[in-house]
Symmetry: C2
Subunit: 138 residues, 2 copies
C-alpha cells in the first residue's frame, strides 16, 4: 500500500510527503466519499487545516480524486478509479448518497443514461446524484 501510494504521487510529479501519503491512504482505505471535515477528523488533527485544503486541491488538479456535488450542497471527494489518472475527464458520474447513514458512493456499475437536451445545448459533463437508502441501511 505504501508502495502504491508512492507510485501514485510520483506518477503525478508530486513530492512524497507525510500529509499526502496519509490522506491518500485514507482514500484508499475508504469505500465512500470523504468531506474535508472527515479527513481532518481521521488524520487526528495531525496536519494543518490549510495543508488538507491544499492537498485536496492538488489531488483534484492532478485528477487523483474528484469532487462530488451532493444534494445538500456540501463538498465531498472520492478517489478516481485507475483509468481516471490516464487523463479522462470524469464527464459521467453517478453518485449515490444515503439519506440514513450519509455515505456517498460512486456507483460505477451504472453508466449515465444519455439525455436529449433541447436543440442548441452542448453537453460537456453529466453528474447524477441519486439520493436514497443504501443496501446497508435498507
Amino acid at each position: 500500500m505504501e508502495e502504491q501510494i508512492q507510485k501514485i504521487l510520483k506518477h503525478n510529479q508530486l513530492s512524497v510527503t507525510g500529509g499526502r501519503t496519509k490522506i491518500l491512504e485514507l482514500f484508499l482505505a475508504q469505500d465512500d466519499a470523504l468531506a474535508h471535515a472527515d479527513i481532518e477528523r481521521k488524520t487526528g488533527e495531525k496536519f494543518d487545516r490549510v495543508t488538507v485544503y491544499r492537498t485536496l486541491q492538488t489531488f483534484l488538479e492532478k485528477g487523483i480524486i474528484h469532487s462530488i456535488p451532493t444534494a445538500d450542497n456540501s463538498v465531498k471527494y472520492a478517489l478516481c478509479k485507475d483509468n481516471c489518472s490516464e487523463g479522462h475527464h470524469h464527464d459521467h458520474h453517478v453518485h449515490f448518497m444515503c439519506s440514513v447513514c450519509g455515505k456517498t458512493l460512486c456507483i460505477d456499475e451504472v453508466s449515465v443514461p444519455v439525455v436529449n437536451l433541447p436543440a442548441g445545448y452542448k453537453v460537456e459533463q453529466i453528474q447524477m446524484i441519486v439520493t436514497g437508502v443504501c443496501k446497508d441501511c435498507a
Copy 2:
C-alpha cells in the same frame, strides 16, 4: 403579479411582507436559478443578509423554491413549477449549467432517465447536473 405573489404566500401560511414579496418577485421574473448573492445584489441591499437567508430557507421548507447542487458546489435556488406546490417531492430534476455565462436552468422538457442501481438500493430522488454550453452562448 402582486396578486399571484400574495396568493402563493397565503397558500403557504406565510405573512405577506416586503422582503418575501420582493424575493418571490425576483424568482418569478427570472428564468434561471439564483444564488443567495444574486438575490442580495438584485434587491439593492434593501434587506438584511439574514432576512434573505431566512426567507430562502422558509421558501425551501414550504416547497416554493428548490435548491440545486451545482458542479462547482455553490448553492443556487429556483422556483418550483406550479405542480410543486401541490406537495410533490422534486424527486426528478435536470439542471443545466452553462460554463460560459454561468446561468443555471431547470430543464423541464427532459425527463430523468431511469437508472438501475445495484440490488438493495432504494431511490428517493434523482438530480442531474448537466454542464455545457447553453443555446445563447453556443
